[in-house]
């Protein structure tokens, strides 16, 4: 059970496993897309979006954990913070790191996140025991989301390409909102006394696949990446995740009944 403000959230999957899933899945996705686009063909760029979804699920799980303590303000703030920290770290990492860019970005994100977590507890006195760890996780997950979606859009993380195809064109704003939504929305939508981890995370996968479809649409405008496979896999994943989310919603609800049509004018008289 996990209502906002009630303390630690119960979790069926331990956070450490999700953390490993997010970091490894995200890095494999980003590097897999980068190398396979060069070796196999541009249509492999969809792997980047799968990596981004790993990051989003991790981010949503971390938001769920920290927001269960009650932030004193809306859950969306922490998602925006994640992407705000993530975009700074991702741009820096890609700008200075070369092939090691994504790893540099993750390390920088972890440092910024840890710093903001420490500031929140030591200076703002928020008193959330897992704040430092969670902020580190959320910043890193936001960075993976940005990196993964950028690779899915351009097929590479070479900084000049990302700069001219993602940042200067303004698609970074799409990544910001679509990725931020996947991190902040699941817990915001599911929070309450009957919140369950698997339902929240399934919602994250569903939001992530929407971001994947959007990334695919952007990729169709780009010569180095192919959008068709990204869009198809995104739609399939969305269908699976949405059915999974709906099944879990029905499972957790006391009862699901149809409300029927609105009464007609004659029936009301």
């Amino acid at each position: 059970m996990s209502a906002g403000g009630s303390g630690a959230a119960a979790e069926a999957i331990p956070q450490n496993n999700i953390m490993a899933f997010g970091v490894l899945g995200g890095l494999i996705g980003v590097y897999g897309a980068y190398f396979l686009v060069g070796m196999v063909g541009q249509y492999m760029s969809f792997i980047g979006a799968l990596g981004a979804i790993c990051g989003m699920v991790w981010g949503a799980a971390a938001v769920r954990r920290v927001a269960s303590y009650g932030l004193g303000t809306g859950v969306p703030s922490i998602g925006m913070l994640a992407l705000g920290m993530g975009v700074i770290a991702a741009t820096f990492g890609l700008a200075v790191g070369g092939v090691a860019g994504p790893v540099v970005a993750l390390v920088v994100a972890a440092i910024i996140g840890l710093m903001i977590g420490v500031l929140a507890n030591k200076i703002l006195k928020m008193g959330i025991p897992i704040m430092e760890v969670s902020m580190t996780e959320i910043a890193t997950a936001g960075t993976i989301t940005i990196l993964g979606l950028s690779v899915a859009m351009t097929g590479t993380f070479d900084f000049p390409v990302v700069l001219s195809q993602v940042i200067s064109t303004g698609y970074i704003a799409v990544i910001f909102i679509a990725g931020g939504l996947a991190i902040l929305h699941p817990f915001n939508a599911c929070l309450g006394p009957d919140e369950k981890q698997d339902r929240t995370l399934m919602c994250a996968v569903e939001k992530g696949s929407i971001a994947m479809i959007v990334a695919g649409i952007v990729a169709t405008t780009n010569p180095n990446a192919s959008g068709a496979l990204t869009i198809l896999i995104g739609i399939a994943l969305w269908y699976v995740a949405f059915s999974g989310f709906y099944d879990r919603t029905k499972r957790d609800a006391y009862d699901v009944v149809g409300a029927g049509m609105l009464p007609s004018k004659e029936e009301l008289e």
Partner: protein
């Protein structure tokens, strides 16, 4: 590999300006009357949305107006003034339309529950606060406070943008605008969320007792923005 020390020494002024901008943004959020979800139901004084959305709205408007001014001139004072005016207009419009909705739509008078008399108009407040609510609408003091907040946020946002655009680099202008905007938005969000946690999500303006907490958020923002400023100066300066 980029020359870290050289770039930092060359651009140390911009690191300081970005940090100052971040601190101003953080301080500005304390002026903005944010009511959050309760205000959306007319059960608390302020604008009915969260700190981050409001600060982002005002800050991004400031960024756009500052960017438009930068097309014409490189004069720092004009760019910053343009950013401030843009953010003030955005905040004023949001608040006046919100007040219309509260007055003519919801049907409640603007009233503050934190003070007995409005510090500016000296009007009695507590008589008009509905039972079970913590005030509603936007009394004059909150409105004035919100405009001050918009001005500070706009100055901060445009200061960050101006500093980022002024760093020496080898980028074409279109790419520079893109990367400077991205860093400015990232820094803006970080500095909008830190004070939002400091005030616990809602504040009525500078007359609210919570306003006295601002030094903590300003200190936290100072440290966080300084670090972000180093990173952004390094990445733009190294290109």
């Amino acid at each position: 590999m980029i020359d870290v020390a050289g770039i930092l020494m060359q651009n140390i002024l911009y690191v300081i300006l970005i940090t100052l901008g971040g601190v101003l943004i953080s301080w500005s959020v304390h002026f903005v009357p944010v009511g959050g979800a309760p205000a959306a139901m007319a059960q608390a004084t302020g604008i009915g949305t969260g700190t981050v959305q409001l600060a982002a709205g005002a800050g991004l408007t400031g960024l756009v107006t500052a960017g438009a001014m930068m097309q014409i001139t490189n004069n720092a004072a004009l760019v910053i003034a343009s950013g401030a005016v843009g953010a003030m207009i955005m905040m004023s419009v949001t608040m006046i339309v919100g007040t219309w909705v509260y007055a003519y739509g919801v049907g409640c008078p603007p009233a503050s529950a934190k003070v007995k008399y409005d510090p500016i108009t000296k009007d009695r407040q507590d008589l008009y606060v509905s039972q079970g609510t913590e005030g509603h609408g936007l009394p004059t003091v909150s409105y004035v406070s919100g405009v001050i907040g918009g001005a500070l946020g706009g100055v901060g946002g445009s200061l960050v943008y101006y500093a980022l655009m002024s760093i020496e680099n080898g980028l074409p202008l279109a790419d520079l605008v893109g990367i400077a905007s991205v860093f400015a938005v990232g820094i803006f969000f970080v500095n909008a969320v830190i004070p939002s946690y400091n005030i616990g999500g809602t504040i009525e303006g500078f007359h609210d007792p919570k306003f006295k907490r601002f030094p903590k958020a300003v200190l936290a923002s100072l440290i966080a923005t300084f670090f972000c400023a180093l990173i952004s100066v390094l990445s733009i300066g190294g290109l």
